[in-house]
Symmetry: C2
Subunit: 337 residues, 2 copies
DNA sequence: CATCTAGATGTAATCGATGACATGAGCCAG
DNA sequence: CTGGCTCATGTCATCGATTACATCTAGATG
């Protein structure tokens, strides 16, 4: 592990010189080609170690024309543990294959998605994982990404030929609402976030399907959407509880809202049945039932799809489904009293 | 915005051909060199637009020898919003300057720090931001990083000549404990995480300083360390409350522990004074007082230091301090009854 | 009118690694 | 003794962009 003076590193050429061979031989050694004499290999290896040489990945990718040893991930932000978990899960899997993860956030502004995607493809990432808030997909088409494989996470392809990692949020929410219905609840409030995003619509659909399955009318008063922020969700619940005929159960359709409902429940000592969405440190301890996704696994699956594209860059888009499930811890199992 | 057939992109040479000039002229146009005729510039610009050309950053960095347009961030993981917030804050600031953020996680294993750092420097990141769990710094020395600037986040340089973003956790915790003391509390429990990390030690030191300032003996029974996980923290508090002489106030020294204490407080309806550490969605609504850091700002400052190194790669290490503060919301303001 | 100068543009080497192709040594069969 | 073959290794063009240096043109100067 020897460094040389300034910031300049050992190059393959220097290794070749030190070992008294040509650069081609060093490359061959590096690639474990059989066409190299054991003695020579020995000398080269020694020189590499002695000079602390590591190849320049940029020069390599330039030459082989392939893509860089990195994968991009574009999200709306890292404001919740779900997004962070996806990133962590993806990064872990990519690292096993020696790839790096480059992240970009739109800060919740979908109009920035194209430029971020472009910045990633310009960097020649070998795949682009996207959790877009917007429904626009045009800028992800093969012509615009120059063939960079795209993996959509938790979002539908909407006509784009891309790999997709989906969670069956609609199914899980349906299970959750169904459970509440079977416990006798008829007035079930559903609180959702921005309905201009796919997940919100998907989850609401699951809720409505369950209601329809049981022939329960969908009371518009009990569906509150576009709730952004814990405080607003909390206030919305409080409002619902003052209805002439308040809900006896509440289902939250994202993490921030779940926290808001929980807040209302704790601070007003209310006992309505409650099913949250996603995980938070406190939910286990507080016995909060929740529809739970595994963000790390979702990230991992996205990474695996990205890696698979190394083998088969051209094949048709694959869809992987990661299950989400209802975790029963108490608050969602209160029968209607 | 025209794409050409396969994944192969427009190169500078093709632009030159289309515009009927040499590659050098295209480069000059791209760099706004004054040494290019307005007419020519016009033709080149048109060709660039028509072919949808964007430069290959890899080829560029290879030639200019400089570093890549990306900065690395190595953390223990993205298991809490603090780490995610730092990443988000850094990414946002870097993006303003057209730089990307590459992340790497050790999954809490400090022995992986060197290899991750190495992977980043091999990629020629223009700076390396580290939130190491370990105290080892040797692998970050200039000889090992080939002059890649290093920015430590929330960790001391320990002799390394690097930029540092520090938070005055010790001061803030001291303020918190002092407040409890001034409210009359004398039996104040402090719960900390892994003491083999700097932040835990720093925060404990703040707590002890406050006790010493007020001539209060430091009862070893009231300091519980190496608590990992919310459940363990919760159990630890429960244990403390069964002491012959239980604490009347509790101060938590990291986010996971804060959640654990909060859990105990809510589920056992206990009224001890409580000061948490860091933020969680619920703390505001539940009136939980806390020592709060601004992770986004910390990440932003780290990014700014990284960017500053572009100008002055050689200067001595700078230290930036981001203040943390006690946010009073109620649970930390209960006087001793 | 010859020459100089400044400005515009072209030529070609270069960054570090790779790989198609060329070379050279050693061996065997005829 | 020589053609033919194999294995180890070297040579050099290449990836895309940059830049030092060379070249050329047109207008200015004596």
């Amino acid at each position: 592990m020897t460094a040389n003076g300034d910031g300049r590193r050992t190059t393959l050429r220097q290794v070749a010189q030190a070992a008294g061979v040509s650069t081609a031989t060093v490359t061959r050694t590096l690639q474990n080609s059989p066409r190299v004499d054991p003695d020579t290999r020995q000398r080269v290896t020694a020189a590499i170690k002695q000079l602390g040489y590591t190849p320049n990945p940029m020069a390599r990718s330039l030459r082989v024309g392939g893509r860089e040893g990195a994968v991009g991930l574009v999200t709306g932000g890292f404001t919740n543990l779900f997004q962070a978990g996806v990133a962590a899960g993806a990064e872990r899997e990519l690292r096993r294959s020696g790839l790096n993860l480059i992240i970009g956030t739109t800060d919740g502004d979908p109009s920035r998605e194209p430029e971020l995607a472009r910045a990633m493809t310009d960097r020649r990432v070998s795949a682009l994982m996207m959790m877009p808030d917007g429904d626009e997909r045009g800028f992800l088409s093969a012509e615009h990404t120059f063939g960079t494989p795209v993996i959509l996470i938790g979002r539908p392809a909407l006509g784009l030929d891309a790999d997709v990692v989906l969670t069956q949020d609609d199914e899980s929410v349906r299970t959750a609402t169904t459970q509440l219905l079977e416990l006798g609840h008829r007035r079930i409030a559903a609180l959702a976030g921005r309905t201009d995003t796919f997940p919100a619509r998907q989850r609401l659909a699951g809720h409505r399907t369950a209601l329809a399955d049981h022939g329960v009318a969908d009371d518009p008063d009990l569906v509150v959407t576009d709730l952004v922020g814990t405080g607003r969700a909390s206030a919305a619940v409080a409002g619902l509880m003052h209805l002439p005929s308040p809900p006896t159960a509440v289902i939250a359709l994202n993490l921030g809202i779940s926290d808001g409902v929980l807040l209302d429940r704790i601070s007003h000592h209310r006992g309505y049945a409650f099913i949250a969405f996603d995980e938070s440190e406190l939910y286990t301890g507080l016995g909060v039932s929740a529809v739970v996704r595994d963000p790390q696994e979702i990230g991992r699956q996205a990474a695996l799809l990205a890696l698979a594209r190394h083998q088969d860059p051209e094949g048709p888009g694959r869809t992987v489904t990661v299950s989400s499930r209802l975790v029963r811890r108490g608050t969602g199992e209160n029968p209607l009293s």
